[in-house]
Assembly symmetry: C2
Homo-oligomer: 491 residues x 2
Amino acid sequence: MSLLPGSSFSFAHPALFTDLYQLTMMQGYFREGLHTQDATFDLYYRRNPYQGGYAVWAGLEVALDYLEALRFSAADLDYLRSLGLFKEDFLAALESWRFTAQVTAFPEGSVVFPNEPLLTVRGPLWEAQLVETALLNILNFQTLVATKAARCLSAVQTSRYGGSVVEFGTRRAQGPDGALGAARAAVVGGATGTSNVQAAALYGLTPVGTHAHAWVESFPTELEAFRAYARLYPDSTTLLLDTFDTLESGLPNALTVARELRAQGHELRGVRLDSGDLAYLSARVRAALDEAGFPDVQIVASNDLSEFVIESVIREGGRIDVYGVGTQLATGGGEGGGALGGVYKLVALHGEDRMKLTGDPRKTSVPGLKRVWRATDTQGRLVIDVIASLDEPQPQAGARVSDPANPLRNTRLGAGLTWTDPRHVVMEGGQRSGEPEALTTIQARAVADLQRLPEGTRRLLNPHIYRVSLSQDLQGRRDALVAELRERHGL
Amino acid sequence: MSLLPGSSFSFAHPALFTDLYQLTMMQGYFREGLHTQDATFDLYYRRNPYQGGYAVWAGLEVALDYLEALRFSAADLDYLRSLGLFKEDFLAALESWRFTAQVTAFPEGSVVFPNEPLLTVRGPLWEAQLVETALLNILNFQTLVATKAARCLSAVQTSRYGGSVVEFGTRRAQGPDGALGAARAAVVGGATGTSNVQAAALYGLTPVGTHAHAWVESFPTELEAFRAYARLYPDSTTLLLDTFDTLESGLPNALTVARELRAQGHELRGVRLDSGDLAYLSARVRAALDEAGFPDVQIVASNDLSEFVIESVIREGGRIDVYGVGTQLATGGGEGGGALGGVYKLVALHGEDRMKLTGDPRKTSVPGLKRVWRATDTQGRLVIDVIASLDEPQPQAGARVSDPANPLRNTRLGAGLTWTDPRHVVMEGGQRSGEPEALTTIQARAVADLQRLPEGTRRLLNPHIYRVSLSQDLQGRRDALVAELRERHGL
């Protein structure tokens, strides 16, 4: 997949990329003889990002790379020794420590929903504990950005002329691999390229770009600047129109260069708008290009785009072909504050259900080993997901299932549904179960899954809420454990 | 500074960590013979993050590391060749390419304001052009998070009991070095530690932590879990109280363990609250600890904290000693959407002023080589910053200066001010001008600068607006260039 040596993620010291308490707890489990107990943790989130109707699950391949590479180097152990918290027998045990647990997950690029176990780690307690921090870091961010890209694409698809999204956000991304990770995740969610050359090289993406205002300002006139660029890149020039004035200066100069290129047997590839009223300007520029005989010159737009800006520009008659989305895409900005609140919770220990009590039913975890059943209708459209106990059979028509956040809301399953279990074992004994998937495969899965969503689920605001339910059995187990814990703790 | 080999930032391929257009423009400058022209770019931002009154300038040392390391490897050149955009003479020139330009900047940790040139690159055009993307990536993010940390500290300081801030956000940060970079920047802004062990090791920070709910759930009872942890860490245990019920279960069990530890000659270090009404719970827990003879047991709080939550918890009587701020600190969340909108603009080319025209006066750049003069009063408090031409003398009492965004708003400088130029040359000929600064030095500068701000400037919302003005000379040069450009482009 990678065309360059070097990882996109800073895992020079993967084992230390964790919260301190994971390591102090590991030592605790080790000294108490609990470290090899069979533990199961579920990774899930509680609310869709951006108040939307879904998320695009991303980052799994990066997470598996991390798990495979995970070990403690001599330098890592020296650092831990220097903290004065760790004893020699524990540090010695870390020397040969490896991640050997089983990982079950949705395939990367799947469309997923709140409260579903997206990834489950089952294995020795001290292994499953250590990896919490890095798994959440990778998967929260990748899923956040992939979902943002899918939302931008949804907005683009409201135009009858189509269009594409490219990622332009490196300069505002959160550190270098904030940028690299965002470029990767954006492509998972449907973007077709990135301006970041290193990301393109690492992930085999399409690098894209135009030129900056500084280019124009480095020449005596805009026309000379445009001509110089076109001379050098006669088949791949996109001219930035707004250094002085988009319609009065940039557009006529670009038309001149387009005619000159054509006279030499080349075609101008595009023009870029980077300020002003993008709806108005793009419509005017499109009309002028068409009238002058350049219907194939693309209009690229940038300047603080988001899914909402894209939607409104299209609604107001904008004619943009390529949307360069920067800050909002690279940082997962907007409602939700740049973070997906994924969590990783202990749900079983040596086969027994575990959970944390809480006063807030929306935050109550679902204990136990489980499975997700996804139903599709005869058109292949998603209908409902049911979270069930691991050993339960496929759901049956007529069975009652309940809302995880509100057990009083329950419903009967319909007939004529096709049930599948979309999750599968992706890692066993510390090794991937199969070959890493190509980003093109992952992106194709996301695009296909998004098209299978029920009507209204992709709406940007106030979407149709896709149903995720608990089976009767699992709901019963949760109720029983809550009652037992309350009694045991005298609450 | 680093205790571990390996960088925190993913610069395995620093030269490719850029937008494609920087490289295509570089080739253009090279082929047009413009690449060695003397160019000057200013890096600045237009609006304070979080609608606040200032920013804490951070990331300079990281940026200088990047500039020193910057070169094109054989693998980088092979990748560029594969794109079909670059010619062999240009690729050959990149083999020995180095960053040799001069960099002038505010010292890291300085308090800074909108429109000031925070960092200026002056040197060959193709060098200054390439580095735009990475400089903005590093400095935007570091400054965003350092400012967030300073705001959280401001909120903590509204408590007469004091308190400290630690960074707990790795699991929600934007990729691995989103987390590492946030830990570093948070310390610049005044945080005292981080939960991220790799960040602590790389930057010499204090790693901090407690234990998780999973620890408690791994034992038959909460008391057994607490006792096991205290046995292992008798002098550094902080117990998490809310696995079952903070006041009914966690608190009495923690008191039992505190008494047992004391009987063995140790002291419980702290307790942690992670859910519920933190103001109410912390006051109740504080009273119970004090009454039981444990006034030195610290209360650590976490759970979606921000500067605003901290301020309100304190206002309502909360008694927290250590604020573990996660998502909002690690992602610079809140108003502004997780990004600082810093820009990097060409301001001069072979000594002549340059700028981009725009219809929006707030976005009009200030052309030319310049200097920042900062005035303090007799108490050392900051009064005003004046952006002047590079060769102008120190501002004089009575001189008129104008608002960069609104030339009609102008004012006369007062008397009795001490003027200094806080910026200095930090890099020359591709080498740092001095030794790298320690983070402790940088943090101390930030803490001192924040205390020198005028009354009201640190207010979290609707702060006093610190004045940043243009000298008459610089304003005149800008007006002249606007007029000249409009005439030249027939606008």
